[in-house]
């Protein structure tokens, strides 16, 4: 090796070692933060928090099917008993009777602090008469059986008042004493994990525990377990991405190596040719890791496309310089390649400004990868390769390719007509091209989505779409704010705008509210004569109500509820999930239930906002936020793509300094975009924002080929080596991007399906529209 070669190699090796070190310490993630906004609005922040740590993100729905009802119920009970004892699970519910005894005992014991009906008026003679009369009415109703034993201690019916506000929504079916699906054929459980929704490892562990516990208690194989929930989606999505990354990289590497071997027929050249690729891939990960701290799995999956793109430069170098030598190559071809690199970089750089973190990462990854690959080709590869570039003679392909070009040029008008047709098709269908929401980017398969829907309906699991969010400095003021908002919401229930709501203050009233209710309770000496007067004509004799007087006096003097009082009840869980301590203070969540019935499953947003106006409470419709988020991404991607396009055009215009050449260069690129998108549309693919990015990349990547034709058009020569190098480079790029089209990850698939065919079309159309060398 020559001295400069050794120096270059050592430098490269050092850089690679440093890069490897960074990668070794990088954090890789395959979770949903890829999709979550980098700069969220207050509403979006609620969405992000809910997705990462909200209760709903920690719920797993489990169904036991097969066998007979008794067997399923037994499995459900055992599953609850065993999982409930594990620290990985916060709660395991299956509707077993007795499982809610602690909750009922708590509600009953503290009824005079918890009941919204407790006011001074309630315990006047008039109030007592009305309340007791109502209780007696209820006694005669179908609910009477349950209330009868409680009447002597709760003659005013506070328990009923409390329960009336609780979830009146659909309860799951019950078979053999445990929850069952609507058709009764499956036993259902609702499990809340201790691990946060964003903790994919924790979710995976919890799911593994559920499966292994079930396998241990139902080994016969008659019973089957079905499971779904956000945690499972996260785990599956991560597995898919991990699997895809290695699969796609392997496919694209093998295919590209095969092409290179066919072209070079030399292991040495092939190894050298992969040098810029490896450097680029490493540099991409290093750049992302340093800039963002975390590298998304999908970003690494994009590497397969990068390989195809980065290998081009060494192909140009080897094929073109073989005949010319290094220095003439640098003089003749490097400026064209450099311009191509710059247009590619311009395209990827547009993504850097995206508020969609995944997109920004892809941009940075591809940008640094391509740049590094080009620089390594330019400065490291020549000294390492030396002058010994013996390539097999590929010049016999030249005439074949030139005949191909001649044929393509005959097709100019038909191609133009086809492009116009494609453009018209797209213009006519412009409203139906786009997928309407973020689910377009989700890795959840249709099958898993259907299972999730079915389980959710069977168990009436909450979907937590509507949420009122309040923030406050401390717990007490948070609870007070929740109580104030609750009063506003009670008004909305009365008018039928909402069906109901949950509030932590329902089980843990603020200290102020507790004091207020205690003050409403009269001392026994006052209460007793009032009760006697109130019940004078009632069938219920006042002397039977000693328990009532004692309980009320006990609460009046010593009644107090704090968070610790709730320990051991399921209500503690409800309070903890709705009252959260954050670094900046406390926040309260009040999930709203839609009115249901004829009023439908949607809540009218504006009246709720109006009712809460001025209270500092934020009303969030999660679905609306998701849709807004996606539309924001889409708008932004449109803007960025246009900006990227403008940057590329600007770059080309300043370099070429000829409107005619610029037009000739852009025409095949734009035609490729139109034809690819129209074909995708006709193939039934719904476009989303990654297709949009794909369009930009067709222009960014495709311009490389058009530039060579432009160069040839200028110099009047299109030598065989250049032509062959272009075809090979195009092939590897198409393989790299095309591999992504095989992916099940929509983000990668969209880019692959757009840029793969787009790159080939760009080359063909550039050849089609190149000014004829003989005329130049």
């Amino acid at each position: 090796m020559t001295r400069p070669a050794t120096r270059a190699f050592l430098l490269w090796l050092l850089a690679m070692a440093a890069g490897a070190l960074v990668v070794w310490h990088s954090r890789f993630s395959a979770d949903m933060s890829f999709f979550l906004p980098a700069r969220p609005s207050a509403e979006q922040q609620v969405l992000v928090d809910q997705l990462k740590e909200g209760v709903v993100s920690r719920l797993l729905m489990v169904a036991v099917e097969g066998g007979d009802p008794a067997g399923r119920a037994a499995a459900s009970r055992q599953l609850r008993a065993r999982l409930g004892a594990l620290p990985e699970f916060v709660s395991v519910q299956n509707g077993e009777s007795g499982s809610q005894d602690a909750d009922r005992d708590f509600l009953f014991a503290h009824r005079y602090l918890l009941s919204p009906a407790v006011t001074p008026a309630r315990f006047t003679e008039e109030g007592l008469r009305a309340a007791v009369a109502n209780s007696i009415d209820l006694l005669a109703s179908p609910a009477g059986l349950m209330l009868k034993p409680l009447l002597p201690r709760d003659p005013t019916g506070e328990l009923v008042e409390m329960i009336a506000g609780l979830n009146a929504g659909a309860q799951p079916n019950v078979r053999d004493g445990v929850w069952a699906s609507r058709d009764g054929e499956r036993a259902m459980l609702l499990i809340q994990t201790a691990a946060l929704g964003s903790d994919t490892d924790g979710q995976e562990r919890a799911i593994g525990l559920i499966r292994s516990t079930f396998a241990a208690l139902a080994p016969a194989g008659e019973l089957r377990l079905q499971l779904s929930g956000p945690g499972l989606f996260a785990v599956k999505s991560r597995t898919t991405i991990q699997h895809e990354v290695s699969r796609l990289t392997l496919i694209s590497t093998l295919a590209i190596v095969a092409v290179l071997f066919f072209v070079y027929r030399s292991p040495r050249l092939m190894t050298l040719g992969l040098l810029p690729v490896v450097s680029g891939a490493l540099a991409g990960i290093v750049a992302v890791s340093l800039a963002y701290g975390t590298v998304f799995g999908i970003t690494v999956g994009f590497g397969s496309a990068l390989i195809g793109e980065a290998v081009d430069y060494s192909i140009y170098y080897f094929v073109q310089s073989g005949r010319l030598g290094v220095d003439p190559w640098r003089a003749r071809f490097w400026p064209t390649i450099r311009l191509g690199v710059l247009t590619s970089v311009g395209g990827f750089a547009a993504l850097l400004f995206s508020g969609f973190p995944g997109l920004a990462q892809l941009g940075l990854y591809a940008l640094s990868g391509v740049l590094t690959a080009a620089l390594v080709t330019r400065y490291i590869l020549p000294p390492l390769a030396g002058s010994d570039i013996r390539l097999r003679d590929l010049s016999h392909f030249g005439p074949v390719l030139k005949r191909g070009i001649a044929l393509l040029q005959v097709l100019r008008w038909p191609v133009l007509a086809l492009t116009v047709a494609a453009a018209i098709l797209l213009a006519v269908n412009r409203d139906h091209l786009w997928h309407p929401n973020l689910s377009a980017l989700s890795t959840v398969s249709a099958e898993d989505g259907a299972i999730d829907q079915a389980l959710r309906a069977d168990i009436s699991a909450p979907d937590a779409r509507y949420m009122v969010v309040i923030t406050a400095a401390d717990r007490e003021s948070a609870l007070q704010a929740a109580e104030r908002a609750g009063e506003q919401l009670d008004g909305l229930i009365a008018t039928g705008l909402i069906g109901g709501y949950d509030s932590p203050a329902r089980f843990l009233p603020s200290a102020a509210r507790q004091a207020e209710r205690r003050a409403s309770l009269p001392p026994t000496t006052e209460l007793q004569p009032r009760l006697k007067a109130a019940l004078a004509d009632s069938p219920l004799a006042a002397h039977k109500l000693g328990g009532f007087l004692a309980d009320l006096e006990q609460t009046r003097l010593h009644g107090h509820i704090d968070r610790a009082t709730l320990d051991g009840t399921g209500l503690a869980l409800a309070v903890d999930s709705l009252l959260l301590q954050r670094s900046t203070g406390w926040s309260v969540l009040l999930p709203l239930r839609p009115p249901g019935g004829e009023q439908g499953v949607d809540i009218a947003i504006e009246p709720v906002r109006a009712a809460l106006a001025g209270s500092g409470a934020l009303f969030v419709d999660m679905k609306h936020e998701f849709d807004t988020l996606y539309n924001d991404y889409l708008d932004e991607a449109t803007l960025l793509s246009l900006a990227g396009f403008v940057a590329i055009v600007g770059l080309l215009a300043t370099t070429l300094r000829s409107a005619r050449r610029l037009g000739r260069l852009l025409l095949p690129l734009l035609a490729s975009v139109a034809l690819v998108i129209a074909s995708l549309h006709l193939a039934g693919e719904q476009l989303h924002l990654l297709h949009l990015i794909g369009m930009l990349l067709i222009v960014a990547v495709g311009s490389n080929y058009a530039l060579f034709f432009d160069h040839a058009g200028q110099t009047g020569e299109l030598d065989d080596a250049t032509l062959v190098s272009m075809v090979v480079a195009n092939l590897t790029t198409a393989i790299g991007f095309g591999t992504l089209a095989l992916s099940d990850v929509p983000v990668l698939h969209a880019v692959g399906a757009t840029v793969g065919p787009g790159a080939i079309l760009a080359l063909l159309l550039a050849a089609c529209f190149v000014s004829r060398p003989e005329q130049a």
């Binding site: 007696i136 009415d137 006694l139 005669a140 109703s141 179908p142 009477g144 059986l145 009868k148 009447l151 002597p152 009336a164 009146a168 309860q171 079916n173 019950v174 078979r175 009764g184 069938p539 219920l540 004799a541 039977k544 019935g597």
Partner: protein, 189 residues
Amino acid sequence: MIKRLLGCLFLLAIATTASAAFDIGQLMGDLARHKGGKAKFVEKKYFAILDKPVVATGEMTYTAPDRLEKRTLTPKVETMILDKDILSIERDKQKLSINLANQPEALAFVDSIRGTLSGNRAALEKNYALHLAGNRDKWVLTLLPSDQKIASLVQRITVSGSKNQVRVIEYLQADGDRAVLNIDPVETQ
């Protein structure tokens, strides 16, 4: 003459045999032929804890075989509809729907009324031992729960009536409280 007397005796004999042999099967057959109708009701509920019974009045409509609507008018308006296994209760603008299939004890309880009204002997005998007394014009059917779980709710249900019309249903609950439902048909069919 003798012949005629004999004939009368014979007829009388047949009649008395028929009367003596008025059995559950025949009652069920009669009831099953009753296709429904409207009735006023007065329900008195006696609770140990209350000094006086709670009285409710209203109308009920039965449509064979499995729809029963009970509309209480006094002291408070309340509508209860039993349609197949769905029990809906509407009271003070509050609506509540219960799927009885989820609650086997409640279902058995409801089946006692429904089985009687529709003359469905098999449904009744699934959960109760049946005893019939009286004749076609004045019969009393007693249902004693055979299942321990149901027995913990209700000791005995006594249904009495005339021909195919149920007149009184009395529930004696396990704790000694009882409810008596008097039914007065508005139009017989």
